[in-house]
């Protein structure tokens, strides 16, 4: 078979077309990945943003005598189905604490039930047509209003959808992260310092290194099994507590911190060490006074990223019981608590329509925190990054 020039240039054209096609395909893949991200965020914003709005109703509260035993008596009867029970139930206690309020009346904006809220947002709601009409009337009269949902940020979990908030989960997350950092940061940095600066190159050191790489890839749920069997069942750490959760997460975060700290230590040039040794510093003094301070920004960056990872982790925490129902958050390491991702998980299982929105709202809060943490880490790295 002989190839004419035409044949070959035809073939070449074909080959170049194929080559260009590959470029477009790869570009398309990257675009596809980007598209996933955009779709995902659009979906979350679409579902979650309404959670930051909440229906309020303007009502008259009559603090009469009957209301001291039954809060419902303070309100007009037709209001009872549309205002949140959480507004009604506290009235007796309020009156008991301030007896001179009896006989007075006020005009206040109070939380509406989640059904009203969902109806006004155009979601599925179990309100009857008459109730819908009544709400519409009140909207016309300006007695029903959508406002910024402060309850969501100032409250803990609740069985009553409109009253459920993320505060106790935020506090639980903070407590858990304190435990996690308090354990994993020192141990992680110490391990990395040992491996980079002190350890002789022997079997033992290699074993530790392989082990750390392996730990980084173990499914997180297995850390939960460890937490359950060792921390809770064996050491008797209180179940569901930030202590149990934090310790479990600490072990999980450890490899991340170790690996990033090692990278940071390695980036400190040897000339610094040599100079310090040269003026008579001991190994520990070199590390403490020269290497560690220079590596600190890198270590911090790695730790923040590890922290962000731990903050979004749910599976091991479910196993150690951190999915408790916590209406008011206590600042304690040993009492039951919940964390943000666990709260999201619990809400996602609630049957009521209003909780779908709460879940997405919680997700937005969590994502905001995580993205800011990561952005902070990036800024930190950019700011202190040093080229030797």
């Amino acid at each position: 078979m002989s190839h004419t020039f035409d044949d070959i240039s035809q073939q070449l054209k074909h080959r170049h077309r194929k080559s260009t096609r590959l470029k477009w395909i790869t570009m398309g893949s990257l675009g596809l990945a980007g598209l996933f991200l955009v779709l995902f965020f659009a979906d979350m914003l679409n579902k979650g943003l309404p959670a930051f709005q909440q229906a309020y109703i303007q009502v008259e509260i009559n603090y009469n005598e009957e209301a001291e035993t039954d809060g419902r008596q303070a309100f007009d009867e037709e209001l009872i189905p549309i205002i949140s029970r959480t507004m009604v139930r506290v009235i007796p206690m309020e009156l008991r604490n301030n007896p001179d309020m009896i006989g007075t009346s006020t005009n206040e904006w109070v939380l509406a039930t989640s059904e009203v809220d969902q109806y006004l947002k155009g979601h599925r709601s179990s309100l009857s047509p008459e109730e819908r009409a009544a709400i519409d009337e009140r909207v016309e009269a300006g007695q029903v209003d959508m406002r910024f949902n402060t309850t969501f940020f100032t409250n803990g979990d609740s069985k009553i959808a409109e009253y459920a908030g993320i505060l106790s989960a935020v506090i639980g997350t903070v407590m858990t992260m304190i435990v996690t950092l308090a354990i994993s940061f020192p141990i992680g940095v110490m391990t990395a310092v040992y491996l980079e600066e002190f350890a002789p190159d022997n079997r033992f050191t290699q074993a530790i290194e392989i082990n750390i790489n392996n730990l980084a890839a173990i499914p997180s749920i297995l850390f939960g099994l460890l937490g359950l069997a060792i921390f809770i069942n064996f050491f008797g750490v209180p179940r569901s507590s930030p202590l149990a959760g934090g310790m479990t997460l600490a072990l999980m975060t450890l490899p991340v911190i170790i690996i990033s700290t090692r990278a940071a230590l390695r980036s400190v040039p040897d000339s610094i060490r040599h100079a310090a040794f040269g003026v008579g510093c001991s190994r520990w003094q070199v590390v403490r006074d020269h290497v560690l301070p220079l590596a600190m920004p890198g270590i911090m960056t790695g730790s923040i990223i590890g922290l962000a990872q731990a903050m979004g982790e749910t599976a091991p925490l479910i196993i150690v019981g951190m999915v408790a129902f916590i209406p008011d958050a206590g600042v304690s390491f040993t009492e039951a608590a919940t964390v943000m991702p666990a709260q999201i998980f619990t809400w996602s299982g609630e049957p009521e329509q209003a909780f779908v929105e709460k879940t997405a709202g919680g997700i937005l809060v969590l994502l905001t925190i995580l993205i800011s943490l990561n952005a902070f880490a990036v800024v930190l790295r950019k700011k202190f990054e040093r080229r030797w």
Partner: protein
């Protein structure tokens, strides 16, 4: 509450002793030095040495004591234990003060102690692995005493049924079957779907970023892809269950197919999206480390850029790409929240991804959060499943590490 107060008092006492040690050690050293004797170390170093030898042994004793207390169930009252530790601290203080002599190398002694402390910190990661192994194996063994290992590995029926009754206080737990094949089938199915999404998209994106993209696109695209990896899995789970699954049911409906709301496709696809950055990031690094000489050689022979990539670069980078994919598989298998929220609960041995099926991790979570006692066979089965999961992911990780090491040796790159 008494224990708490005791602990508080103990800590306060130890802190005071430490302070005392510091100042006593330093003043002694300063005194000796001001007397004109040359010393091997600075006063502060002596001071820190005394602090370490005061607090160190005491903490060690109390920790050991607490451990023995828990492990052996020995009945040492906390009071005695803490008192004993304090005595040890006092002895340490006296001994170390006595050691503050001109010819004592406080700095070197400190150095040795610090090295030991650092080494023991490094040991914690080893303990963690052993802790996981130990906790899983010991409970799994209890499970295998109740149900045969063989049946667990090869059985095709997972119906804990009656063991649940035993846990609730009735029945004897007979008749339960723990055949894990359907669970692993579900896990593999969802993993396979995830990899079908993640490997092509991840690999092709990596090729684009390393071979074609201008550096500006690269610096933006890489961190943006990393965002996908940073999203918490519980969020992906919600996305899969609320958005993707109904979409799939509707789409299947258009095609005349019958899809379950808990179909395997939704968690699989979403998991694949999550894994994209793991694959693209590592593949990108690997492709970048393929020596440029190989590309140039190929181009010089008249290959087009596409052919160079397909026939030279990718084959050279293959070990690294496989290694990245194996890590992705290991992550997909161990992934929990997405499947807990979006996959089904029914152990279902089927090849149809539109049906609902359950996975190993779903079963682990279900068994440990349900309504039964810790001793029941169903709860313990979680540990048996965990053991298999551990073994499988361990093998995947090790193979992946070996492959990447081979790649590294072949092309002598050090940054992987």
């Amino acid at each position: 509450m008494q224990t708490n107060q005791l602990l508080l008092i103990f800590c306060a006492a130890l802190l005071l002793l430490g302070l005392l040690a510091f100042f006593a050690g330093r003043s002694k050293a300063t005194r000796i030095r001001s007397a004109g004797t040359a010393m091997f170390a600075q006063p502060d170093q002596y001071a820190w040495f005394t602090v370490l030898s005061t607090a160190g042994p005491a903490l060690l004793v109390s920790a050991l004591g607490a451990f023995v207390l828990l492990l052996m169930g020995a009945n040492i009252p906390t009071l005695y234990l803490l008192a004993a530790s304090l005595v040890v601290a006092a002895i340490g203080l006296l001994v170390s003060l006595n050691q503050v002599k001109p010819d004592f190398h406080a700095r070197q002694a400190m150095e040795r102690v610090i090295r030991m402390i650092l080494a023991s910190a490094a040991l914690i990661s080893i303990f963690t692995t052993f802790g996981i192994l130990f906790s899983i194996i010991s409970e799994a063994v209890r499970f295998f005493k109740m149900h045969s290992f063989w049946e667990f590995i090869t059985g095709t029926t997972w119906s804990p049924g009656a063991s649940f009754l035993a846990a609730a206080g009735r029945g004897d737990g007979g008749g339960a079957e723990f055949g894990s094949v359907p669970l692993f089938a579900g896990t593999f199915m969802i993993t396979a779907i995830a990899m079908l999404v993640a490997v092509p998209v991840g690999l092709l994106s990596a090729i684009y970023m390393s071979e074609y993209a201008p550096s500006k696109v690269r610096t933006v695209a890489k961190p943006v892809l990393e965002v996908l990896a940073g999203i918490p899995t519980v969020v992906y789970g919600f996305f899969a269950a609320i958005t993707v699954a109904p979409l799939i049911v509707t789409l299947a409906g258009f095609l005349g197919l019958d899809a379950s709301y808990n179909n395997a496709l939704a968690p699989g696809i979403v998991m694949g999206i999550m894994i994209i950055p793991f694959i693209s990031s590592l593949s990108d690094d690997v492709i970048n480390s393929v020596p440029d000489t190989m590309r140039q050689g190929s181009l010089a022979l008249g290959m087009t850029k596409g052919e160079t990539i397909r026939d030279v670069v990718v084959p050279a980078a293959l070990p690294g790409i496989i290694s990245a994919s194996l890590l992705g598989v290991s992550r997909a298998m161990g992934e929990t929240m997405i499947v807990v929220m979006a996959a089904g609960m029914r152990p279902n041995l089927t090849a149809n991804p539109l049906e609902d099926m359950t996975t190993v991790t779903v079963r682990i979570v279900a068994a440990l959060t349900g309504d039964q006692e810790f001793e029941s066979a169903e709860t313990l089965s979680a540990f048996a499943l965990g053991l298999v999961l551990f073994a499988v992911t361990l093998v995947l990780n090790l193979v992946s590490v070996l492959m990447i090491r081979r790649f590294r040796e072949k092309y002598r790159v050090n940054n992987l």
